[in-house]
């Protein structure tokens, strides 16, 4: 297909407000532009979620690629209207990140040394932000899986309790309980690192 036509078709997907599920079905039916359109729409949020949970660019990009690969593979069985692509992706990314955090927790338990967030030299303020984000992610790794998942979806993704309930396939009441307990545990873990992270006690 000529480039101009492809671009026109791609922008038509955009203008016509085709939903993500319809794009995924179009992809499964061989539409060459659907993958790019869908990736443009969902990949920024997928990468954002993974980055906020893991605070590690390489790991977050690997998770994002893995989640998208799973989306492409499930496309041929996708039933429009039954599930939302965004809900499905939130779940997949959260699970993949929890797997990574669990491995990190085991590794940290062995080493008892926090790795620097990045080897590249950076300005003081940026370094402090990186250290804080890494501390938050490491603290998340200490929580039980379900608590970590609920807290991340609530406070890092800013989702509502009913949305989280749908993503985690549990009741709203369970979400409330998991986020409350998770947040308290997280605060306790981080309290011990306040000074190190540049928070004064005043």
């Amino acid at each position: 297909m000529p480039v101009a036509m492809r671009q026109m078709k791609a922008s038509m997907h955009h203008v016509c407000g085709i939903d993500d599920g319809a794009l995924l079905v179009a992809f499964a039916n061989g539409d060459k532009d659907a993958a790019r359109d869908l990736a443009n729409r969902v990949l920024p949020r997928v990468l954002g979620q993974a980055t906020r949970m893991l605070s590690d660019r390489t790991e977050a990009e690997d998770v994002a690629q893995d989640a998208m690969m799973r989306l492409w593979k499930v496309a041929s069985e996708w039933r429009q209207g039954e599930a939302k692509v965004s809900t499905w992706l939130y779940r997949v990314v959260a699970n993949l990140c929890i797997d990574r955090l669990r491995k990190r927790r085991d590794r940290v338990a062995l080493d008892q040394v926090a790795e620097p967030a990045d080897g590249a030299p950076s300005a003081g303020a940026q370094m402090q932000t990186d250290a804080r984000m890494r501390a938050l992610s490491d603290a998340l790794a200490q929580l039980p899986d379900r608590q970590a998942q609920a807290v991340a979806l609530r406070h890092l993704e800013g989702l509502s309790n009913p949305q989280i309930a749908q993503i985690m396939d549990i009741s709203v009441r369970s979400v409330e309980s998991l986020t409350a307990r998770g947040k308290r545990a997280l605060a306790d873990i981080l309290a011990g690192r306040k000074a190190e992270l540049g928070y004064d006690d005043d």
Partner: protein, 121 residues
């Protein structure tokens, strides 16, 4: 409500995490689209455009799928055979039977042509 100072630190960390969403680099986008292309290429032969398989598949499914249609075809052929060459003893029975089977066949043919007409028009 009493606010815990520990929560202030945590809320600040959450806010910072949300404040700077990462940019999708060209490299990651390239990897993701390459995966998509590969998946599409592997699934290619099965992924026939929907319009192509339209009416035949729908008729087949309305009759209960391949196995049911197979049975129906056999019954139709037997009906045709009985109708075409009825043994003298079975004359009356065969007349009734072939009539019934043939009427079912005609009905299916009608819906077949009807669907085809719609698809063409």
């Amino acid at each position: 409500m009493m606010t815990d100072p520990k929560d202030d630190v945590l809320d600040d960390l959450f806010a910072q995490a949300r404040a700077t969403p990462p940019q999708v680099g060209a490299d990651l986008m390239g990897r993701v689209l390459a995966d998509a292309d590969q998946t599409q290429a592997q699934a290619g032969p099965q992924a026939a455009p929907i319009a192509r398989q339209g009416y035949l598949v729908r008729i087949m499914e309305s009759l209960g799928g391949w196995s049911a249609v197979g049975g129906l075809t056999a019954a139709t052929l037997i009906g045709v055979w009985i109708g075409a060459a009825p043994p003298e003893v079975l004359d009356d029975v065969a007349a009734g039977l072939s009539g019934e089977v043939l009427s079912l066949t005609l009905f299916d043919q009608t819906s077949f042509y009807f669907e085809e007409g719609l698809a063409d028009g």
